[in-house]
C-alpha cells in the first residue's frame, strides 16, 4: 500500500466522551485515522473500544466531542446516513433473508434495482469466495461463512470505512488465523479504511498499520505495532502486549538524557522519556524477556547478576527465570542458542541494551495487567 498518498484523515475523533448513566465508557479520546489505514482499537473488555466503534458507526451518540468522517462533521448524522459499514461481532445476518437478499439489503436502501445490484453482489461474493452460497440462509452457514457474508454485505456499498467489532472472536483458532489473512488481503485489495476492534494483541499486532491501545475509556498509546511493542508508553501497554519484566527501582543519578537507576544492589542506565522523572524518584523499569541476554559474550551497558530459579522449555525457546534479592527476571532464549548445563541456584550474568529498557513513574504500577 502506498503510504505517502494516504495522509488524508478519513476519520477524526475530537475530545469524544461517552457517559452511560454514571459510567464513563469513553473518556475524552482523540483519534486521527488515515485513509486506507488498517487501524485497531485494542484493549481488554470494558475499555470502551466497542463504544468508540459504535459512535463512529452512529449507533451511539457521543456525550461530548465531535466525529468527522471524510472531513465532514457527522456527530449528529444518524447511522443510516453515514458512509461507514460495520461487521458485527455476531455477524447479524438477517435470518429471514437468504445470502443474496442480505447483501442486496444495503443496495436496496440506496434505491438500487435488483438488476443493477446483481453484478455488485457477484463481485463481493467473489471477493469473499462465497459465490455459490447466494441461496443459503444464515442457519445453513458455518461461523466462518457467516463472517464472510457479513463482510461482503458491509463492503458492497464501498463505504469510506469498514468497522469490525471483534469479527473473529467467535471462531476457533485455526479459522481465526485463516480469516486474519483474508481480512488483510481484502483490505489491501480494496484500499478501504478498516477500523478493527479486538482484545487479541497478537491479532492487532499482526494485522494493523497502527494501533490505539485503550484502558478504562482512555487511549494509552497510539502507534505502529513496532512502537507499541518496543516503546510502550505506559506500564499498561507494556503489560497488555506480549511478555514483560517489571522491576522496581530508584533513580540515583540524573544525566542529560539518561537516568541511573538502582535495582536492588545493581545500577542500570535507562533512557529518559516523556515522563518527568527526577533524582530520588521511585520508578518501575520494564524490559522484554527476549531482550535480556544470559551470559552475553561482550560486555553490555547494563549488567546484573542473578540466580537461576526456573527453566521452562516452550518448543522453540526456553523461558529462564532468575532471581536477585526479592525481584525476578525472566528471559527467553532460542532453544538451540544456549548451553543449559546449569544447576538451579547457579549465578548468571544478565545483560541488556539501554534502549530496550523503559522507565515509568512508580504510581503507574497499578495499571499493570496481571493474568490469573
Amino acid at each position: 500500500m502506498d503510504k505517502e498518498s494516504s495522509n488524508f484523515s478519513q476519520i477524526v475523533l475530537k475530545n469524544v466522551s461517552k457517559v452511560f448513566q454514571d459510567f464513563v465508557a469513553v473518556d475524552n479520546i482523540n483519534l486521527d485515522i488515515k485513509k486506507s489505514e488498517f487501524f485497531s482499537l485494542l484493549g481488554p473488555s470494558g475499555c470502551g473500544k466497542t463504544t468508540t466503534l459504535r459512535m463512529i458507526a452512529g449507533l451511539e451518540s457521543p456525550t461530548s466531542g465531535k466525529i468527522f468522517l471524510g472531513g465532514k462533521d457527522v456527530t449528529n448524522v444518524p447511522a443510516y446516513k453515514r458512509d461507514v459499514n460495520t461487521v458485527f461481532q455476531d455477524y447479524a445476518i438477517f435470518p429471514h433473508m437468504n445470502v443474496w437478499d442480505n447483501i442486496y439489503f444495503p443496495l436496496k436502501m440506496k434505491g438500487i434495482s435488483k438488476k443493477e445490484a446483481a453484478p455488485k453482489i457477484e463481485k463481493v461474493l467473489k471477493l469473499v469466495n462465497m459465490l455459490n452460497f447466494s441461496n443459503r440462509y444464515s442457519h445453513q452457514l458455518s461461523g466462518g461463512q457467516r463472517q464472510r457474508i457479513a463482510l461482503a454485505r458491509a463492503l458492497v456499498n464501498e463505504p469510506q470505512a469498514l468497522l469490525l467489532d471483534e469479527p473473529l472472536g467467535a471462531l476457533d483458532f485455526k479459522l481465526r488465523v485463516a480469516m486474519q489473512t483474508v481480512l488483510k488481503d481484502i483490505q489491501q485489495e480494496l484500499g478501504i479504511t478498516f477500523i478493527y476492534v479486538t482484545h487479541d494483541q497478537t491479532e492487532a499486532i499482526t494485522m494493523s498499520d497502527r494501533i490505539a491501545v485503550m484502558r478504562q475509556g482512555v487511549v494509552d498509546q497510539i502507534g505502529t505495532p513496532d512502537e507499541i511493542y518496543n516503546k510502550p508508553a505506559t506500564p499498561f501497554v507494556a503489560s497488555f502486549i506480549g511478555e514483560m519484566n517489571f522491576v522496581d527501582g530508584k533513580v540515583v543519578e540524573e544525566y542529560e538524557d539518561e537516568l541511573k537507576v538502582k535495582i536492588a544492589n545493581n545500577f542500570i542506565i535507562c533512557k529518559k522519556n516523556n515522563y518527568l522523572i527526577k533524582k530520588d524518584d521511585e520508578v518501575l523499569v520494564s524490559i522484554r524477556p527476549e531482550k535480556v541476554y544470559i551470559n552475553p559474550e561482550q560486555k553490555l551497558p547494563n549488567q546484573i547478576y542473578a540466580k537461576l530459579s526456573r527453566i521452562v522449555f516452550r518448543g522453540d525457546n526456553y523461558q529462564i527465570t532468575t532471581q536477585f534479592d526479592s525481584s525476578e527476571l525472566t528471559s527467553v532464549v532460542a532453544a538451540k542458542s544456549i548451553n543449559l548445563n546449569f544447576n538451579l541456584g547457579h549465578e548468571l550474568r544478565l545483560g541488556w541494551y539501554t534502549e530496550d529498557v523503559q522507565v515509568f513513574p512508580i504510581q503507574l504500577k497499578k495499571n499493570i495487567i496481571k493474568y490469573k
Binding site: 458507526a57 452512529g58 449507533l59 444518524p78 447511522a79 443510516y80 446516513k81 461507514v84 459499514n85 460495520t86 458485527f88 455476531d90 447479524a92 438477517f94 435470518p95 429471514h96 439489503f105 444495503p106 436502501m109 440506496k110 440462509y137 444464515s138 442457519h139 454485505r153 458491509a154 456499498n157
Partner: protein, 300 residues
C-alpha cells in the same frame, strides 16, 4: 454439555469442554443414549399421569360422542345421527350469536395486535421508573378473576351511561387480549436483541424501513401466535362478557342461556364444533410461538 443427534440417528455430536478448557465436539454412537431414552418403567407417576389425562379428556370425549347420538338421553347412546348439527343451523339465535362471537373476537384480536405489539416495543425498548410495576399492571386482566373485571367494567360503563352492546363486550375483550399478544411479542423482542436493527441502520435503513423490513418480519410469528391465542381466549370467554352483554350476545353466553332449559344434544354438537375450532387454533399457535418455533419460523 449439549447433545445434537444427527439425522441418521446412529451418531450424535456431543459438545463438551475438554481438559484445556476448549469447546470441542465429539461424535459418538447413539445406541447408548437412545437405549437410555427407550426405557420405560411402570411407576406410580405414570399411573397418576394416566388418571389425570382420563379426568381431563373423558368428559370431552363423552360430549363429542353424545353429539352424534340420536336419542335425547345423555345416558344411553343410540343410533348415530347428524340431526343435532342440522338443528344448529335452524337455531337462528345460535347462528347469530356465533357470528357475533366471530365479530367480537376478530375486532378484539386486531386491536390487541396493534396495542399489544406497540406496548411490547415500549416495555422492551425503554427504561422508565416503575417498569416492573407497569408490567404487573398490564398482566392483571389475565390474572384477575373475570368476575372482578366484569363487575368493574360494568360499573364503569354504567357510570359513563354507555349502553351495554357490542361495543362494551369488545372493549371488555380487548382488555385481556392485549396483554396476551403483548407478552408473546415482548419475549420475542427481548430475545432478539438490538443487533439486527443496528445492522439494518448501519446498512442504510431508516427507522421505518428497519421496522418493516427487519424487525416485524422477525417478530411476525410471535404476533401471529399471540393473535391466535388471543382469538381462542376471546372466542370462548364467558364471565366478562356475561356482565357486559345486553340483548346483543355472544355464543358462549347464548349457550349458557340454552342450558337453563337443561342439557340437550344440540349443546353437545355446538360444543364439539367449538372444541375442534380451538384445537385447530391451538395447533397453529404452538407452531408459531416458543423458542423452537422461533428458530424454524423466523427463517421462512
Amino acid at each position: 454439555m449439549r447433545i445434537n443427534i444427527n439425522k441418521d440417528n446412529k451418531t450424535y455430536i456431543k459438545n463438551t469442554i475438554n481438559n484445556d478448557g476448549n469447546n470441542i465436539n465429539i461424535i459418538e454412537d447413539t445406541t447408548i443414549i437412545l437405549k437410555e431414552r427407550k426405557k420405560f418403567k411402570f411407576s406410580f407417576l405414570s399411573f397418576y399421569s394416566v388418571l389425570i389425562y382420563l379426568f381431563l379428556y373423558v368428559p370431552l370425549i363423552v360430549v363429542i360422542l353424545f353429539s352424534f347420538s340420536a336419542s335425547k338421553s345423555t345416558v344411553t347412546f343410540s343410533d348415530v345421527t347428524l340431526k343435532w348439527y342440522k338443528e344448529l343451523i335452524n337455531n337462528s339465535g345460535l347462528v347469530s350469536s356465533f357470528l357475533h362471537s366471530i365479530q367480537v373476537s376478530l375486532t378484539a384480536v386486531v386491536a390487541a395486535v396493534v396495542l399489544g405489539t406497540s406496548g411490547a416495543f415500549f416495555i422492551v425498548r425503554t427504561n422508565f421508573p416503575g417498569k416492573r410495576f407497569f408490567m404487573t399492571l398490564a398482566q392483571l386482566p389475565i390474572i384477575l378473576p373475570g368476575i372482578i373485571i366484569g363487575i368493574a367494567m360494568l360499573i364503569f360503563f354504567i357510570n359513563l351511561r354507555v349502553p351495554l352492546s357490542m361495543l362494551t363486550i369488545t372493549v371488555g375483550h380487548i382488555s385481556f387480549t392485549t396483554p396476551v399478544v403483548m407478552f408473546q411479542v415482548m419475549s420475542r423482542l427481548a430475545r432478539l436483541g438490538r443487533t439486527y436493527e443496528d445492522a439494518a441502520k448501519d446498512l442504510g435503513a431508516n427507522p421505518i424501513k428497519t421496522l418493516f423490513l427487519v424487525t416485524i418480519p422477525m417478530i411476525k410469528t410471535a404476533i401471529i401466535g399471540g393473535a391466535l391465542l388471543a382469538f381462542a381466549m376471546s372466542f370462548d370467554e364467558i364471565v366478562i362478557t356475561y356482565f357486559l352483554t345486553g340483548s346483543w350476545t355472544t355464543l358462549p353466553v347464548f349457550i349458557y342461556g340454552m342450558m337453563r332449559f337443561g342439557l340437550s344434544p344440540q349443546i353437545y354438537a355446538i360444543s364439539t364444533i367449538i372444541l375442534l375450532l380451538s384445537i385447530v387454533i391451538i395447533f397453529f399457535m404452538a407452531k408459531f410461538t416458543g423458542t423452537k418455533a422461533e428458530e424454524l419460523m423466523v427463517r421462512k
